[in-house]
Symmetry: C2
Subunit: 193 residues, 2 copies
Amino acid sequence: MLRDKRAVKSRRALIEAGLAELPENPMASLTEIAEIAGIGRATLYRHFASREALIEEVLKVSFEDIIQVLTPMEKEGLRGKQAMMRAVELMLPLADRLRFLSSFWLDGERVLSKDPRYALMEQETITSVEQAKEDGDIRKELPTRWVMNTYDVLLFSAWDMIVKEKADIGEVTALLMTTFFDGVGPKPRETQE
Amino acid sequence: MLRDKRAVKSRRALIEAGLAELPENPMASLTEIAEIAGIGRATLYRHFASREALIEEVLKVSFEDIIQVLTPMEKEGLRGKQAMMRAVELMLPLADRLRFLSSFWLDGERVLSKDPRYALMEQETITSVEQAKEDGDIRKELPTRWVMNTYDVLLFSAWDMIVKEKADIGEVTALLMTTFFDGVGPKPRETQE
DNA sequence: TATATATGAGACAAGTGCGTCTCATAAAAT
DNA sequence: ATTTTATGAGACGCACTTGTCTCATATATA
């Protein structure tokens, strides 16, 4: 089934539909999602056994895409602040994936915090934050947990600007960086590089 | 009906249940919400004609509570940075209300941005941000929209710390302030007052 | 105390989503 | 060209949600 052009096209369309619709309307029925994908409901069930299975697959694709875009970073040998800045640049174009993940932020079943892939991404952020602290780029008295939440949440804010205000990705990346490290207050310290 | 002790108690319980459950599980049925409230389903329908009506009422209560806690501020005559800091202090104890509102952030129907009460709150924040810019407390080159998003999103992050990490409200308020104005970078400028 | 009324439990019909199935068709693979 | 297979349309039963209603009970009001 995966070897057939039609199948991969259908599958992709369904995942994209879920990626776009589920965060905006968590109560969307599978009928709606199939319609948005422009694909028959029966076909949806041929690819995904249930609503849960579809969501799990969209989650998987989101994680994989993000991880895929981040892995080349390892060769760059960046650490601390530089690593965090580079990661933002690389992830922002995947704003729709990030949005899907963040739509589970309030979820009562803790889908995110239970997920090993999320834990992995989180662990790398922790490493960078602690390196940045050692390097004097992040104040040591700020709890790492708080710094990470701030980082995640600014990423979300950046995505929001890009989508709703159609802001330029590069511009928003710069805004995010200076806001994160320097705050919105006066006299910005050097932030670029 | 509003004059009867039992009615006001039931109504309050239902609203609290919606406030707590809907953000965590947007697909929760009215049966579930009634059970969480410890109240019969029939009684729920006596108070709220439909799911929409319940949500609208929870929204109303959330807005009213937040506005109620903010209005005494007018007598303090604060402006700009000071006004924003005070507003955070006053709002953080209403974290559950803020959470309910922010659960509509991604909503496809734009429930928040269409709501006049939200527009009102937003307008007051805009005023404070622009005052802070005039006062030299916020850099003028940062778009007001971006600053506001950052503010909202840090508020959300603060709530998250309070709930999930059981952090102290005063402590988180201080973290939020220094992060917002000074960033996470070294050499914090004076933030307290 | 006597009256009024909010409540809980449950029945009820209508609507909707879910998951499975069949069959004819169109598009792939060979 | 022939075979294979993914698809769309639709029917089907099941379970659940919704919204309304009734009636006995408990609680508040007077």
